[in-house]
Symmetry: D2
Subunit: 147 residues, 4 copies
């Protein structure tokens, strides 16, 4: 796996977000309720996009929303209250109207793989209609994967 340290110009291909598990995120099984993993993926891609230099809030202010159109996940082992976990986010694909991110959620201390997931987001205009992303946004989102 190439180290980001050796590629001074290319943005990192994988962004790591660290999250401390909240009590509110557990359920009575004593582990994290699965739907919350999708919330952590949202944090992962938000951080990924911010790390590219243009936060998602800026995209929304420019009139471009990215809405989840597809999501899938596999839960390998549960996250637990107060665990520190890492969401490793990568760009999988950018198309005219969609962008796909992949996620690997691991335990921050043990490195144990907890969840793998993928989400595809579709580009919407302020009226909620699917639209092509502006070329600069596509280039921007794809910039981390070019190195």
């Amino acid at each position: 796996m190439p180290s980001r340290d050796t590629a001074p110009s290319a943005p990192p291909r994988t962004h790591r977000s660290e999250i401390r598990v909240r009590y509110a995120e557990t359920d009575q099984m004593g582990v994290v309720y699965h739907a919350n993993y999708l919330v952590w993926c949202e944090i992962g891609r938000t951080d990924y996009i911010r790390a590219l230099g243009r936060p998602y809030t800026a995209l929304e202010q420019e009139g471009l929303a990215l809405a989840v159109s597809e999501a899938s996940m596999r839960c390998h082992a549960p996250a637990r209250y107060d665990d520190r976990v890492c969401v490793e986010t990568t760009l999988v694909d950018v198309k005219s109207r969609t962008v796909t991110f992949g996620y690997r959620i691991v335990h921050a201390e043990t490195g144990a793989r907890l969840v793998t997931a993928e989400t595809t987001l579709v580009s919407l205009d302020p009226q909620g209609r699917v639209v092509a992303m502006p070329a600069d946004v596509r280039a921007f989102l794809g910039s981390a994967g070019a190195g």
Copy 2:
């Protein structure tokens, strides 16, 4: 659409909403995570307002949002997964720019008191500024308490 204004008999002062506890609402203590009680209160007041004949969505479409500005609750006994609970909502007060609701959450089968709560909502315009509620909205919200 029949007008509630012409109804000679007063609408009920208390509206009852029934909710089945979701697994997602529990935490690892094996009971409902407390912040969810405020979500149930939201359901209670939404149903209360709808029962008056003018759903909250209509208010928002007219440019009037009601945002929670104060909330308080006491948890007397926990709600548990799959319990059926009732939220009993009453109007406590309507002022120029605020409306206050009271809630009593009880177990639907045993009647046991679980939570008592109160929330005050402030009237906002589409820019998020505090504004006086139109007279008709005040009258409408207060109509159930007049009988």
Copy 3:
């Protein structure tokens, strides 16, 4: 308690659960935040299992937990605040240690398809280890699909 096993007519293969969209379930895009669709799927399969005559709570009390191990969904159109939606839940498959449900979330009034999803749950013992489901539980879960 009457046994479902003796019922000559097959239970319905699809269970319909009706849900009113909560304000808490929306996000600033003005539609339902996608992770909540998985919560609705949980309601769907809980109701499905209850309709078979043995609520999920009984399974947990007997020491059998069903934890989501895989989930996927496609969002075709957004659900909005105060919408009434139907979750149509079907059993897709029962294996030794897993059970898979399919979901179709539609707008209750227009019938418009909003979300399709599938989740696989794995059978866990009280220590969280994957175990084979007891034969009677497998038969019970599969009973609706036999007709």
Copy 4:
């Protein structure tokens, strides 16, 4: 305001937790849904307790749960998506069976006051019965307020 720096032995009286607002925490009003502020308070007191040197998870493992029995909050200004906010948590009171925390949620950059809140937690044994806290736990929780 006394500086914590001048009291070398006493633990800090106020713990600051920084949180980045999640998209999932917003609602269609374009701001944070109010019930989430209670989740942030939970983060605040968890961090407060951890900073004392004994994480809440350790208390639960010793058989002592702290459940919210009362909560109140005032919302002064809304938090928004992607904002960085600080939860300033202080110990208000420790009694035989309860502990009360106060919270001040401010915008991390502007310092603007967003929410003030207070929660009282009651000490429960593993069967969910209210019990007196062990003397060492009371001393531990109160240690930060002694300086």
